[in-house]
């Protein structure tokens, strides 16, 4: 579990089924599949008949866990080639979701952030989304200068993939953007960068 002193960062818990929900909508990425398995392994067939699993296998993990997810016999379980395609589907599902749907997300922080962001855009209160962090500690970062998003940042200093500014990743997280804040690392003395460390492996 990710524990830090960052006040603006969400607290990620453990996936646990909301037994009052009529429909369980589970979005998982990479190692997040293992959290889904832990959560649903001992659940009755009746509950599983109301579970939808959207999975992006291998995104942050070396291997896909699709075969193991299939053994759960959930109502629907589909693997998407990328996180982007998963989110496109999730958007479609949320558009027609009815009262009583509970949203779950597990995987890297950047993935959870994007699921929460999508939920917010459909009026889902972020407090109501059940999340569990699994896999890489990599951060999703927004460049504050050009507003471009950089995925899977593992170092405290990273170059913006859009505008080329060298960014220092601040310990400040925006739920609305699903990203950490990246601010110029060498504005005061161009070219003089702090040592880059693998801080979010």
């Amino acid at each position: 579990m990710l524990v830090s002193g960052i006040k603006s960062r969400p607290v990620y818990g453990q996936l646990a089924l909301d037994l009052y929900a009529k429909r369980h909508l589970v979005a998982a990425e990479g190692e997040g599949a293992l959290a889904v398995l832990d959560c649903l392994r001992a659940v009755s067939a009746d509950v599983l008949s109301r579970v939808t699993i959207l999975y992006a296998g291998g995104a942050s993990a070396g291997q896909s866990h699709l075969d193991r997810l299939r053994t759960l016999n959930a109502d629907y379980c589909h693997q998407f080639p990328t996180i982007q395609t998963l989110l496109f589907r999730l958007n479609g599902v949320l558009t027609t979701a009815s009262m009583g749907t509970r949203l779950y997300a597990s995987g890297t922080e950047g993935f959870i952030g994007q699921v929460i962001q999508l939920g917010l855009s459909h009026g889902v209160d972020h407090h109501s989304i059940i999340t569990e962090h699994r896999g890489s500690l990599a951060r999703r970062v927004q460049c504050t200068h050009c507003k471009g998003i950089i995925e899977n940042v593992t170092t405290n200093v990273a170059t913006c993939a859009h505008c080329g500014v060298n960014l220092l990743v601040r310990d400040h997280y925006s739920r609305r953007l699903g990203a950490f804040m990246g601010v110029s690392a060498d504005a005061e003395e161009p070219g003089s960068l702090p040592a880059s460390e693998q801080m979010f492996p």
């Binding site: 603006s8 504050t144 925006s174 601010v183 504005a187």
Partner: protein, 346 residues
């Protein structure tokens, strides 16, 4: 009262300056020779004549130039002004608050006529004469918050109150000290204050939030905050940090008096009547330390505050690169004499 609005800039050639009245008007923030965070909230009541708190909303000699600067920032970066959809009622509340205060306290410059929902607003310094329907956003050229804050000095945030918390759900920030509205919009009170060092541990934010959740209509409060800025630059946003950051390396013991500016924020908080939201205004004042040194007590005190500032605050406020030079410059004005209590000039 004879306000003469200056023609001046806050970028490029930096022609901004304070008149001698402007110096006396400055809200010097230190009431003693050291500084630490505190919940320094007090009722926003009428201050002395000529001071920054004489009126609820302060209009000063920099009004026209600051509004031109704001328009420039918004043209370059429209995301500096944003409002989540549920904040429209609070936007109207804010417009009413500002128009009412400005027209009451500066009648020679601003006039507001109300006939039911039909309002007529005249802003003489900016040459604006606007008829509109209160509550009908289509009757104004901008949404109400942007419309009125393009005509009022200071950054503004509108805080929604729910779940026993405050949420920064609308605002305009074109003169901010290194925080991003675009990044922080939608955050709760503790979340947007996340990066501030020491104060969380001191319990400052817990107490401040508890206090603000109970803020009453008609009883606004205020506090002062401060930092330092190189050159009289209003827009020290993170968005443009890669453009202004290098200013911090240009300070020498010789030029510190002209280059280094004390930046004071007079922060006001009002409960709004229709939306129950809170207005959080951040009105910034800039003064070079050379101008501060024209007031002997202020020069002595600023010298001592900078010398004893906790390292975490030096770092967070971005003073690391030029603090020593500012202290060296100010040392010529500190004879070691005791200073009187309180923020005033004597």
């Amino acid at each position: 009262m004879g306000l003469v609005f200056k023609t001046e800039t806050f970028r490029d050639d930096f022609t901004f300056s304070n008149s001698s009245e402007g110096i006396r008007h400055f809200p010097f923030p230190f009431h003693e020779d050291t500084y630490m965070y505190a919940v320094n909230i007090e009722p926003h009541v009428k201050g002395p004549v000529g001071s920054a708190t004489e009126f609820a909303i302060d209009v000063d000699e920099h009004y026209v130039a600051e509004m031109e600067e704001r328009a420039l920032v918004l043209k370059e970066d429209p995301l500096r002004c944003q409002a989540l959809p549920h904040m429209m009622l609070a936007q109207w509340d804010l417009l009413e608050l500002l128009m009412t205060a400005m027209s009451q306290d500066y009648p020679e410059h601003f006039t507001l006529e109300r006939d039911g929902d039909r309002w007529h607003w005249i802003n003489r310094p900016l040459g604006i004469d606007q008829h509109f329907l209160f509550g009908d956003a289509a009757s104004l050229p901008y949404q109400p918050m942007e419309y009125i804050t393009r005509q009022c000095q200071g950054d503004f945030c509108l805080l929604d109150q729910r779940h026993n918390n405050l949420w920064m759900d609308a605002g305009i920030a074109t003169a901010q000290a290194d925080w991003s509205l675009d990044f922080d919009i939608g955050m709760s009170f503790m979340e947007w204050h996340g990066p501030v060092p020491l104060a969380h541990e001191l319990g400052v934010f817990d107490r401040a939030l508890k206090f603000l959740l109970n803020l009453q209509q008609g009883r606004p409060v205020r506090r002062l905050n401060w930092t330092m800025t190189i050159n009289p630059r209003m827009d020290t946003s993170p968005e443009k940090y890669h453009k202004w950051g290098m200013d911090r390396t240009t300070v020498t013991p010789e030029n510190a008096g002209e280059k280094v500016h004390l930046r004071v924020e007079l922060q006001g908080l009002w409960r709004l009547p229709r939306s129950n939201a809170i207005v959080f205004s951040i009105r910034g004042y800039l003064m070079s330390i050379a101008d501060i040194a024209t007031v002997p007590k202020w020069a002595r005190r600023l010298h001592r505050v900078l010398q004893t500032l906790p390292p975490e605050l030096v770092d967070y406020k971005g003073l690391t690169r030029f603090r020593e030079n500012a202290i060296a410059w100010l040392s010529h004005f500190d004879d070691g004499a005791p200073t009187s209590p309180g923020c005033g000039p004597e």
